[in-house]
Symmetry: none
Subunit: 164 residues, 4 copies
């Protein structure tokens, strides 16, 4: 209790001591957006799922604004999957859809062929899935890369539901 | 009334008719985030302010996720200010601060010297200002470019308050 | 009348007061180029069209120089469509053609296969359309993203004609 | 025990079932490189340190190859600090030095003035620190962004030592 109080006072003092670049935590995140606790739960679920499958993956989480919230690379997982996992998560939130569903219409002749050239690069094969809250509102997305596309998709879909 | 009903029915039918890429408007935006109506009000206020000053500017608005919501370039305003205005808005939301305040500590020897190299390029001279709602919560930001830095800042600050 | 005169004088005085970074509004825009008034008319027409279809879209307008003139994202529309709409508008003006028409020859084996890799990223599926004046001269382009490609194309084509 | 055995067998079977994109976990990571367990320990230490200071930060960890290993953004911390934290970690490993030390020679007239333009953008103010093992070998780096530069540096330095 004392320690907490001390921390609060210390914290407040420190904020005052940083003119021009103070923290405004209240305004940093809209109510309802994906929280750090939720991000941890989802990452943990994904990691355990991958271990059960006997594979290693990269796990990326973005919030409602498609901004990176959490990331974790399991030992030995592909270095190239860092960016793929992040892009899968962003793509899923950018278009509120599983990346695998988007991929069906980005093929040659498809409705949105080559949309991957937008937004600094998208990934439209399976492994990116929107994260919804209990009311079905999309509050972020998860991207998994490192296994087969079926495994990545399976992990992402299951992990996204771990916060429900 | 009839027209509205017809539109709703038509709209619903159209959604059903687009398998795989349907709209999920409900999930697209968190409650409390900057609305299109607010963006228009702010852009209008900025444009009128610029006209009163006898100058032409580029006006950029981002939402709480730092994603572009609205943009407008007045006739004859600098082409190079398109990107500057957008970067000012993003910078102001990225760090919940007026870009001019950031600029004071990005100078040589300053605390965050050369932070402009992050986030795909930042602008840290005046003209970017956070947009707050009536409760003081930051819900986006505005960036103005085209006038002097004093004019840009003045327009941005005044326009941001136009929704209160 | 008095206010206008005062504004003009004030404006002129301000211009003089900004050495080194003064405005040259007169040379900022070619005669005949897309005006701010036209951009607003087109954006309004596109927004109303989207509402009639019961969908939400991102609307981007570029001028004759393929530089962003106006942008608007309806509440809840895809975050990923911000860049797609802008790239559609740029692509349509870059090659003076509807993006859907370009897409027919960017397919595997097509004449300009993978041209999307140029110009910082192009979009060559439907939704980008050149904007012409009453004489048929191309003065800019519009890009719509957020609905199906048929809806995006329909909105873009109709909105482009709203200034005639 | 049985479950573990089953998982191993299942995992092996799955690996065989993915022709052309199988996992080679064994060669995915050099012996001695930063592990996932270490990354978690460091992130946890940094998060607790930030909470004790009463601030929220972005935490980024890279391995010996300067590739992202873990990332975590506390609720409400700056969106712009995502990239700054990652760039601080990369910069610290790129040059095996604390970013604050580099910053002393990147000032105007300094030995490596404007090196921030390389490597896709560097950050050379305090908050990035190499991570060493018990033998003093650098096995990665940590980047903190969100507090003052003194706070960021303090958190990074302490967290880096949490694995010793």
């Amino acid at each position: 209790m004392k320690a907490t109080l001390f921390t609060c006072i210390l914290g407040f003092w420190l904020l005052l001591a940083v003119p021009g670049f103070g923290q405004d935590t209240l305004s940093g995140q809209l109510p309802g957006d994906l929280t750090a606790v939720q991000a941890k739960t989802i990452i943990s679920a994904a990691e355990q799922h991958a271990m059960q499958l006997g594979i290693t993956v990269n796990i990326a989480i973005v919030d409602a604004g498609a901004n990176l919230k959490g990331f974790f690379r399991m030992d030995g997982s592909y270095l190239g999957s860092i960016d793929v996992a992040i892009k899968k998560a962003k793509t899923a939130r950018y278009f509120n859809a599983a990346t695998g569903d988007l991929g069906k219409i980005t093929q040659p002749g498809g409705d949105i062929y080559n949309i991957e050239h937008s937004n600094g690069g998208l990934i439209t094969f399976p492994g990116g899935v929107p994260i919804k809250n209990a009311d079905g509102v999309i509050i972020g997305a998860i991207g998994i890369s490192g296994g087969s596309i079926e495994q990545d998709e399976q992990i992402a879909a299951a992990a996204a539901k771990s916060i429900l």
